[in-house]
Amino acid sequence: MAIVKWFRRFKAAVWLTWKEQSNWTNPIIYALYTSITPFFSVLVYAYIYIAIAFLSGLVDLNRAFYLVSGVALYNFIGSGLYGLIWTVHSEREHFRTLKYTYLAFPSLHLYLMARSFYQFIVGLIYTIIMFVVGLYLTGYPVYNLNPDVIEVIILIILGYIWSSQLGIMVAGSSIFSSEYGPLISEAVGGILFLVGAVLYPVSALPPFIRPLSNLFPMVEWMELMRHALNRNYMVSNIGQLHSMLLLKTIIYVGIAIIYFRIVEKLTREKGYLEATLHH
């Protein structure tokens, strides 16, 4: 019974994000808007690849797959992460509802996960559109992909878990800064883009930056997703990648729970649930 109540609460928070995101227009325009955004983003990256291929005369379809899949998959992580961190800022600064949410929802940690769930779904839609359109534009033979659907689904769930926990930690930190909360989310998103094997492998990074990529499960997740989507994409030490992804995800969940409890206590000590800059 308690689980049903939790599910109901989770669903309500997802529904709220959907209404908040889509209520400004009719569903058709919203659907159009949601699909056009990733379409134009992937156009940029696909044509960067095409331009380089045209200028250098080198056509490397494996590189095309790496680039398109990286950019597409980053959208799933990025969209959810931004959505989650933005929730704290908007609830406190814009809607002034954070204190009422805190009273109503038994766990602020789970509430933030629920509010970001919709953003992850939108991110997933972006990912699918960008992936398909991007591969088509770069001329990659889509029929060669041979994806492992079950593994893709499991990895999407794991991606949601670790990135939402990362978001929880960042959102927790942003409670202490009204003005810079959204900037922190952009900074974390930027770091993931930089060191997360999105456009290039970690080995392409300067040596002093490389250790940073070990802090996040992003590289393991990206590489495993690429392999799950395309069996022709080879990864070495697949077992080790699986173990590391699982281990890092568990560590992220543990740290996020502890960290958010500390944040919650400090927030109540300082009275930051209601602190606003009155924009």
Binding site: K5, R8, R9, K11, A12, A13, W15, L16, K19, E20, N23, W24, F95, R96, T97, K99, Y100, T101, Y102, L103, A104, F105, P106, K265, R268, E269, G271, L273, E274
Partner: protein, 326 residues
């Protein structure tokens, strides 16, 4: 019987680079079940700080507080299950959603099913008369409607204990009257067991509350039923003296008179008059009126008045409740 709310030597200190501010100073109150309990005090007296602690939004620096028998620090989640909070003078909510959608959301977040929430909204509609704006977007409703919505949100989970923090702040006279009528009916009909209400409006507290604590500078300075509190000034003599507004600057001598316990000034810009309410320890109005005239103050009317809660505050603190902001 266990009180609905109890605080024991509750202290809250706010620290800032400018120094420490003691918002609550050993506040001990006990609120029985089934009443409207008023916390009366000027702005900055500590009323909202106390409500924030009781609603588990803020931690106390020291002392203990219990709501429904649960400790607000150690059993915060249990406290949250039985309370709700409505604050006046703010517009919280998801503006792009309608009032109905906002309430549907909160109902489900509190664990109600879709149909239970719909039924609850119908109940709240008949209680609060929401139908005119139930399907309007929250960002398009008036302040009075907003406060009715806030009350509806505060009642959506059938709380045992409801905290009302300045519920009529910023409302016009008519809307404030409607909100007060609703609040009174909530406890009378048994919809809510206990209400803790804060206000700096004397008349509001006097009209609504069964029991009142007067708070000033973080300390409870008096408590009792409205009649018990009024009895605190039954021996004093109270006069309202109407003068011209332009003479207000000339009445400072009142502070120096031994027989004057305190006085307040209420200006009436429209009529160009000011009403001076004076509490006297002995019948000395004749001498005071002569002093007014000596100072060049033109006295328009002098009326003997009945004691009110405002006079209690005036006697205890030496100034009116609205005389100090902050």
């Amino acid at each position: 019987m266990q009180p609905a709310i109890e605080t024991v030597k509750l202290v809250r200190v706010f620290s800032s680079p400018q120094g420490e501010f003691r918002a609550l100073d050993e506040v001990s109150i006990s609120v029985p079940n089934g009443i409207i309990y008023g916390l009366l005090g000027p702005n900055g007296a500590g009323k909202t700080t106390l409500i924030r602690i009781l609603a588990t939004l803020l931690l106390p620096t020291s002392g203990d507080a219990y709501v429904g028998g649960f400790h607000v620090v150690k059993e915060a989640s249990k406290v949250r299950e039985i309370i709700n909070l409505v604050s006046g003078g703010e517009r919280p909510g998801y503006g792009i959603l309608s009032v109905r959608e906002n309430l549907m959301y909160y109902g489900q977040v509190y664990g109600l099913t879709w149909s239970e929430t719909k039924r609850k909204i119908e109940e709240l509609d008949s209680l609060l008369d929401l139908s005119d704006f139930l399907d309007k977007r929250l960002n398009r409703i008036s302040t009075g409607m907003m406060q009715k919505y806030a009350l509806a949100r505060g009642l959506i989970n059938d709380p045992e204990i409801l905290f009302l923090d300045e519920p009529t702040l910023g409302l016009d006279v008519n809307n404030a009257r409607v909100i007060r009528r609703i609040i009174k009916s909530l406890v009378e009909k048994g919809d809510i067991k206990t209400i803790l209400l804060t206000s700096h409006y004397m008349a509001e507290v006097e009209e609504l509350c069964d029991y009142i604590s007067i708070i000033d500078r973080g300390r409870i300075i008096a408590h009792g039923t409205p009649d018990e509190l009024r009895k605190m000034v039954e021996k004093e003599i109270i006069y309202d003296v109407d003068i011209r507004l332009r003479d207000v600057d000339r009445i400072n001598f009142l502070k120096r008179l031994d027989s004057v316990i305190g006085h307040t000034v209420k200006t009436r810009q429209l009529t160009g008059e000011a009403r001076i309410r004076i509490i006297l320890s002995s019948e000395d109005i004749g001498r005071i009126i002569r002093r007014f005239e000596d100072e060049g103050v033109h006295v328009l009317r002098v009326t003997r008045s009945e004691a009110s809660l405002e006079d209690v505050f005036l006697k205890l603190v030496g100034k009116g409740i609205g005389d100090e902001e902050g």
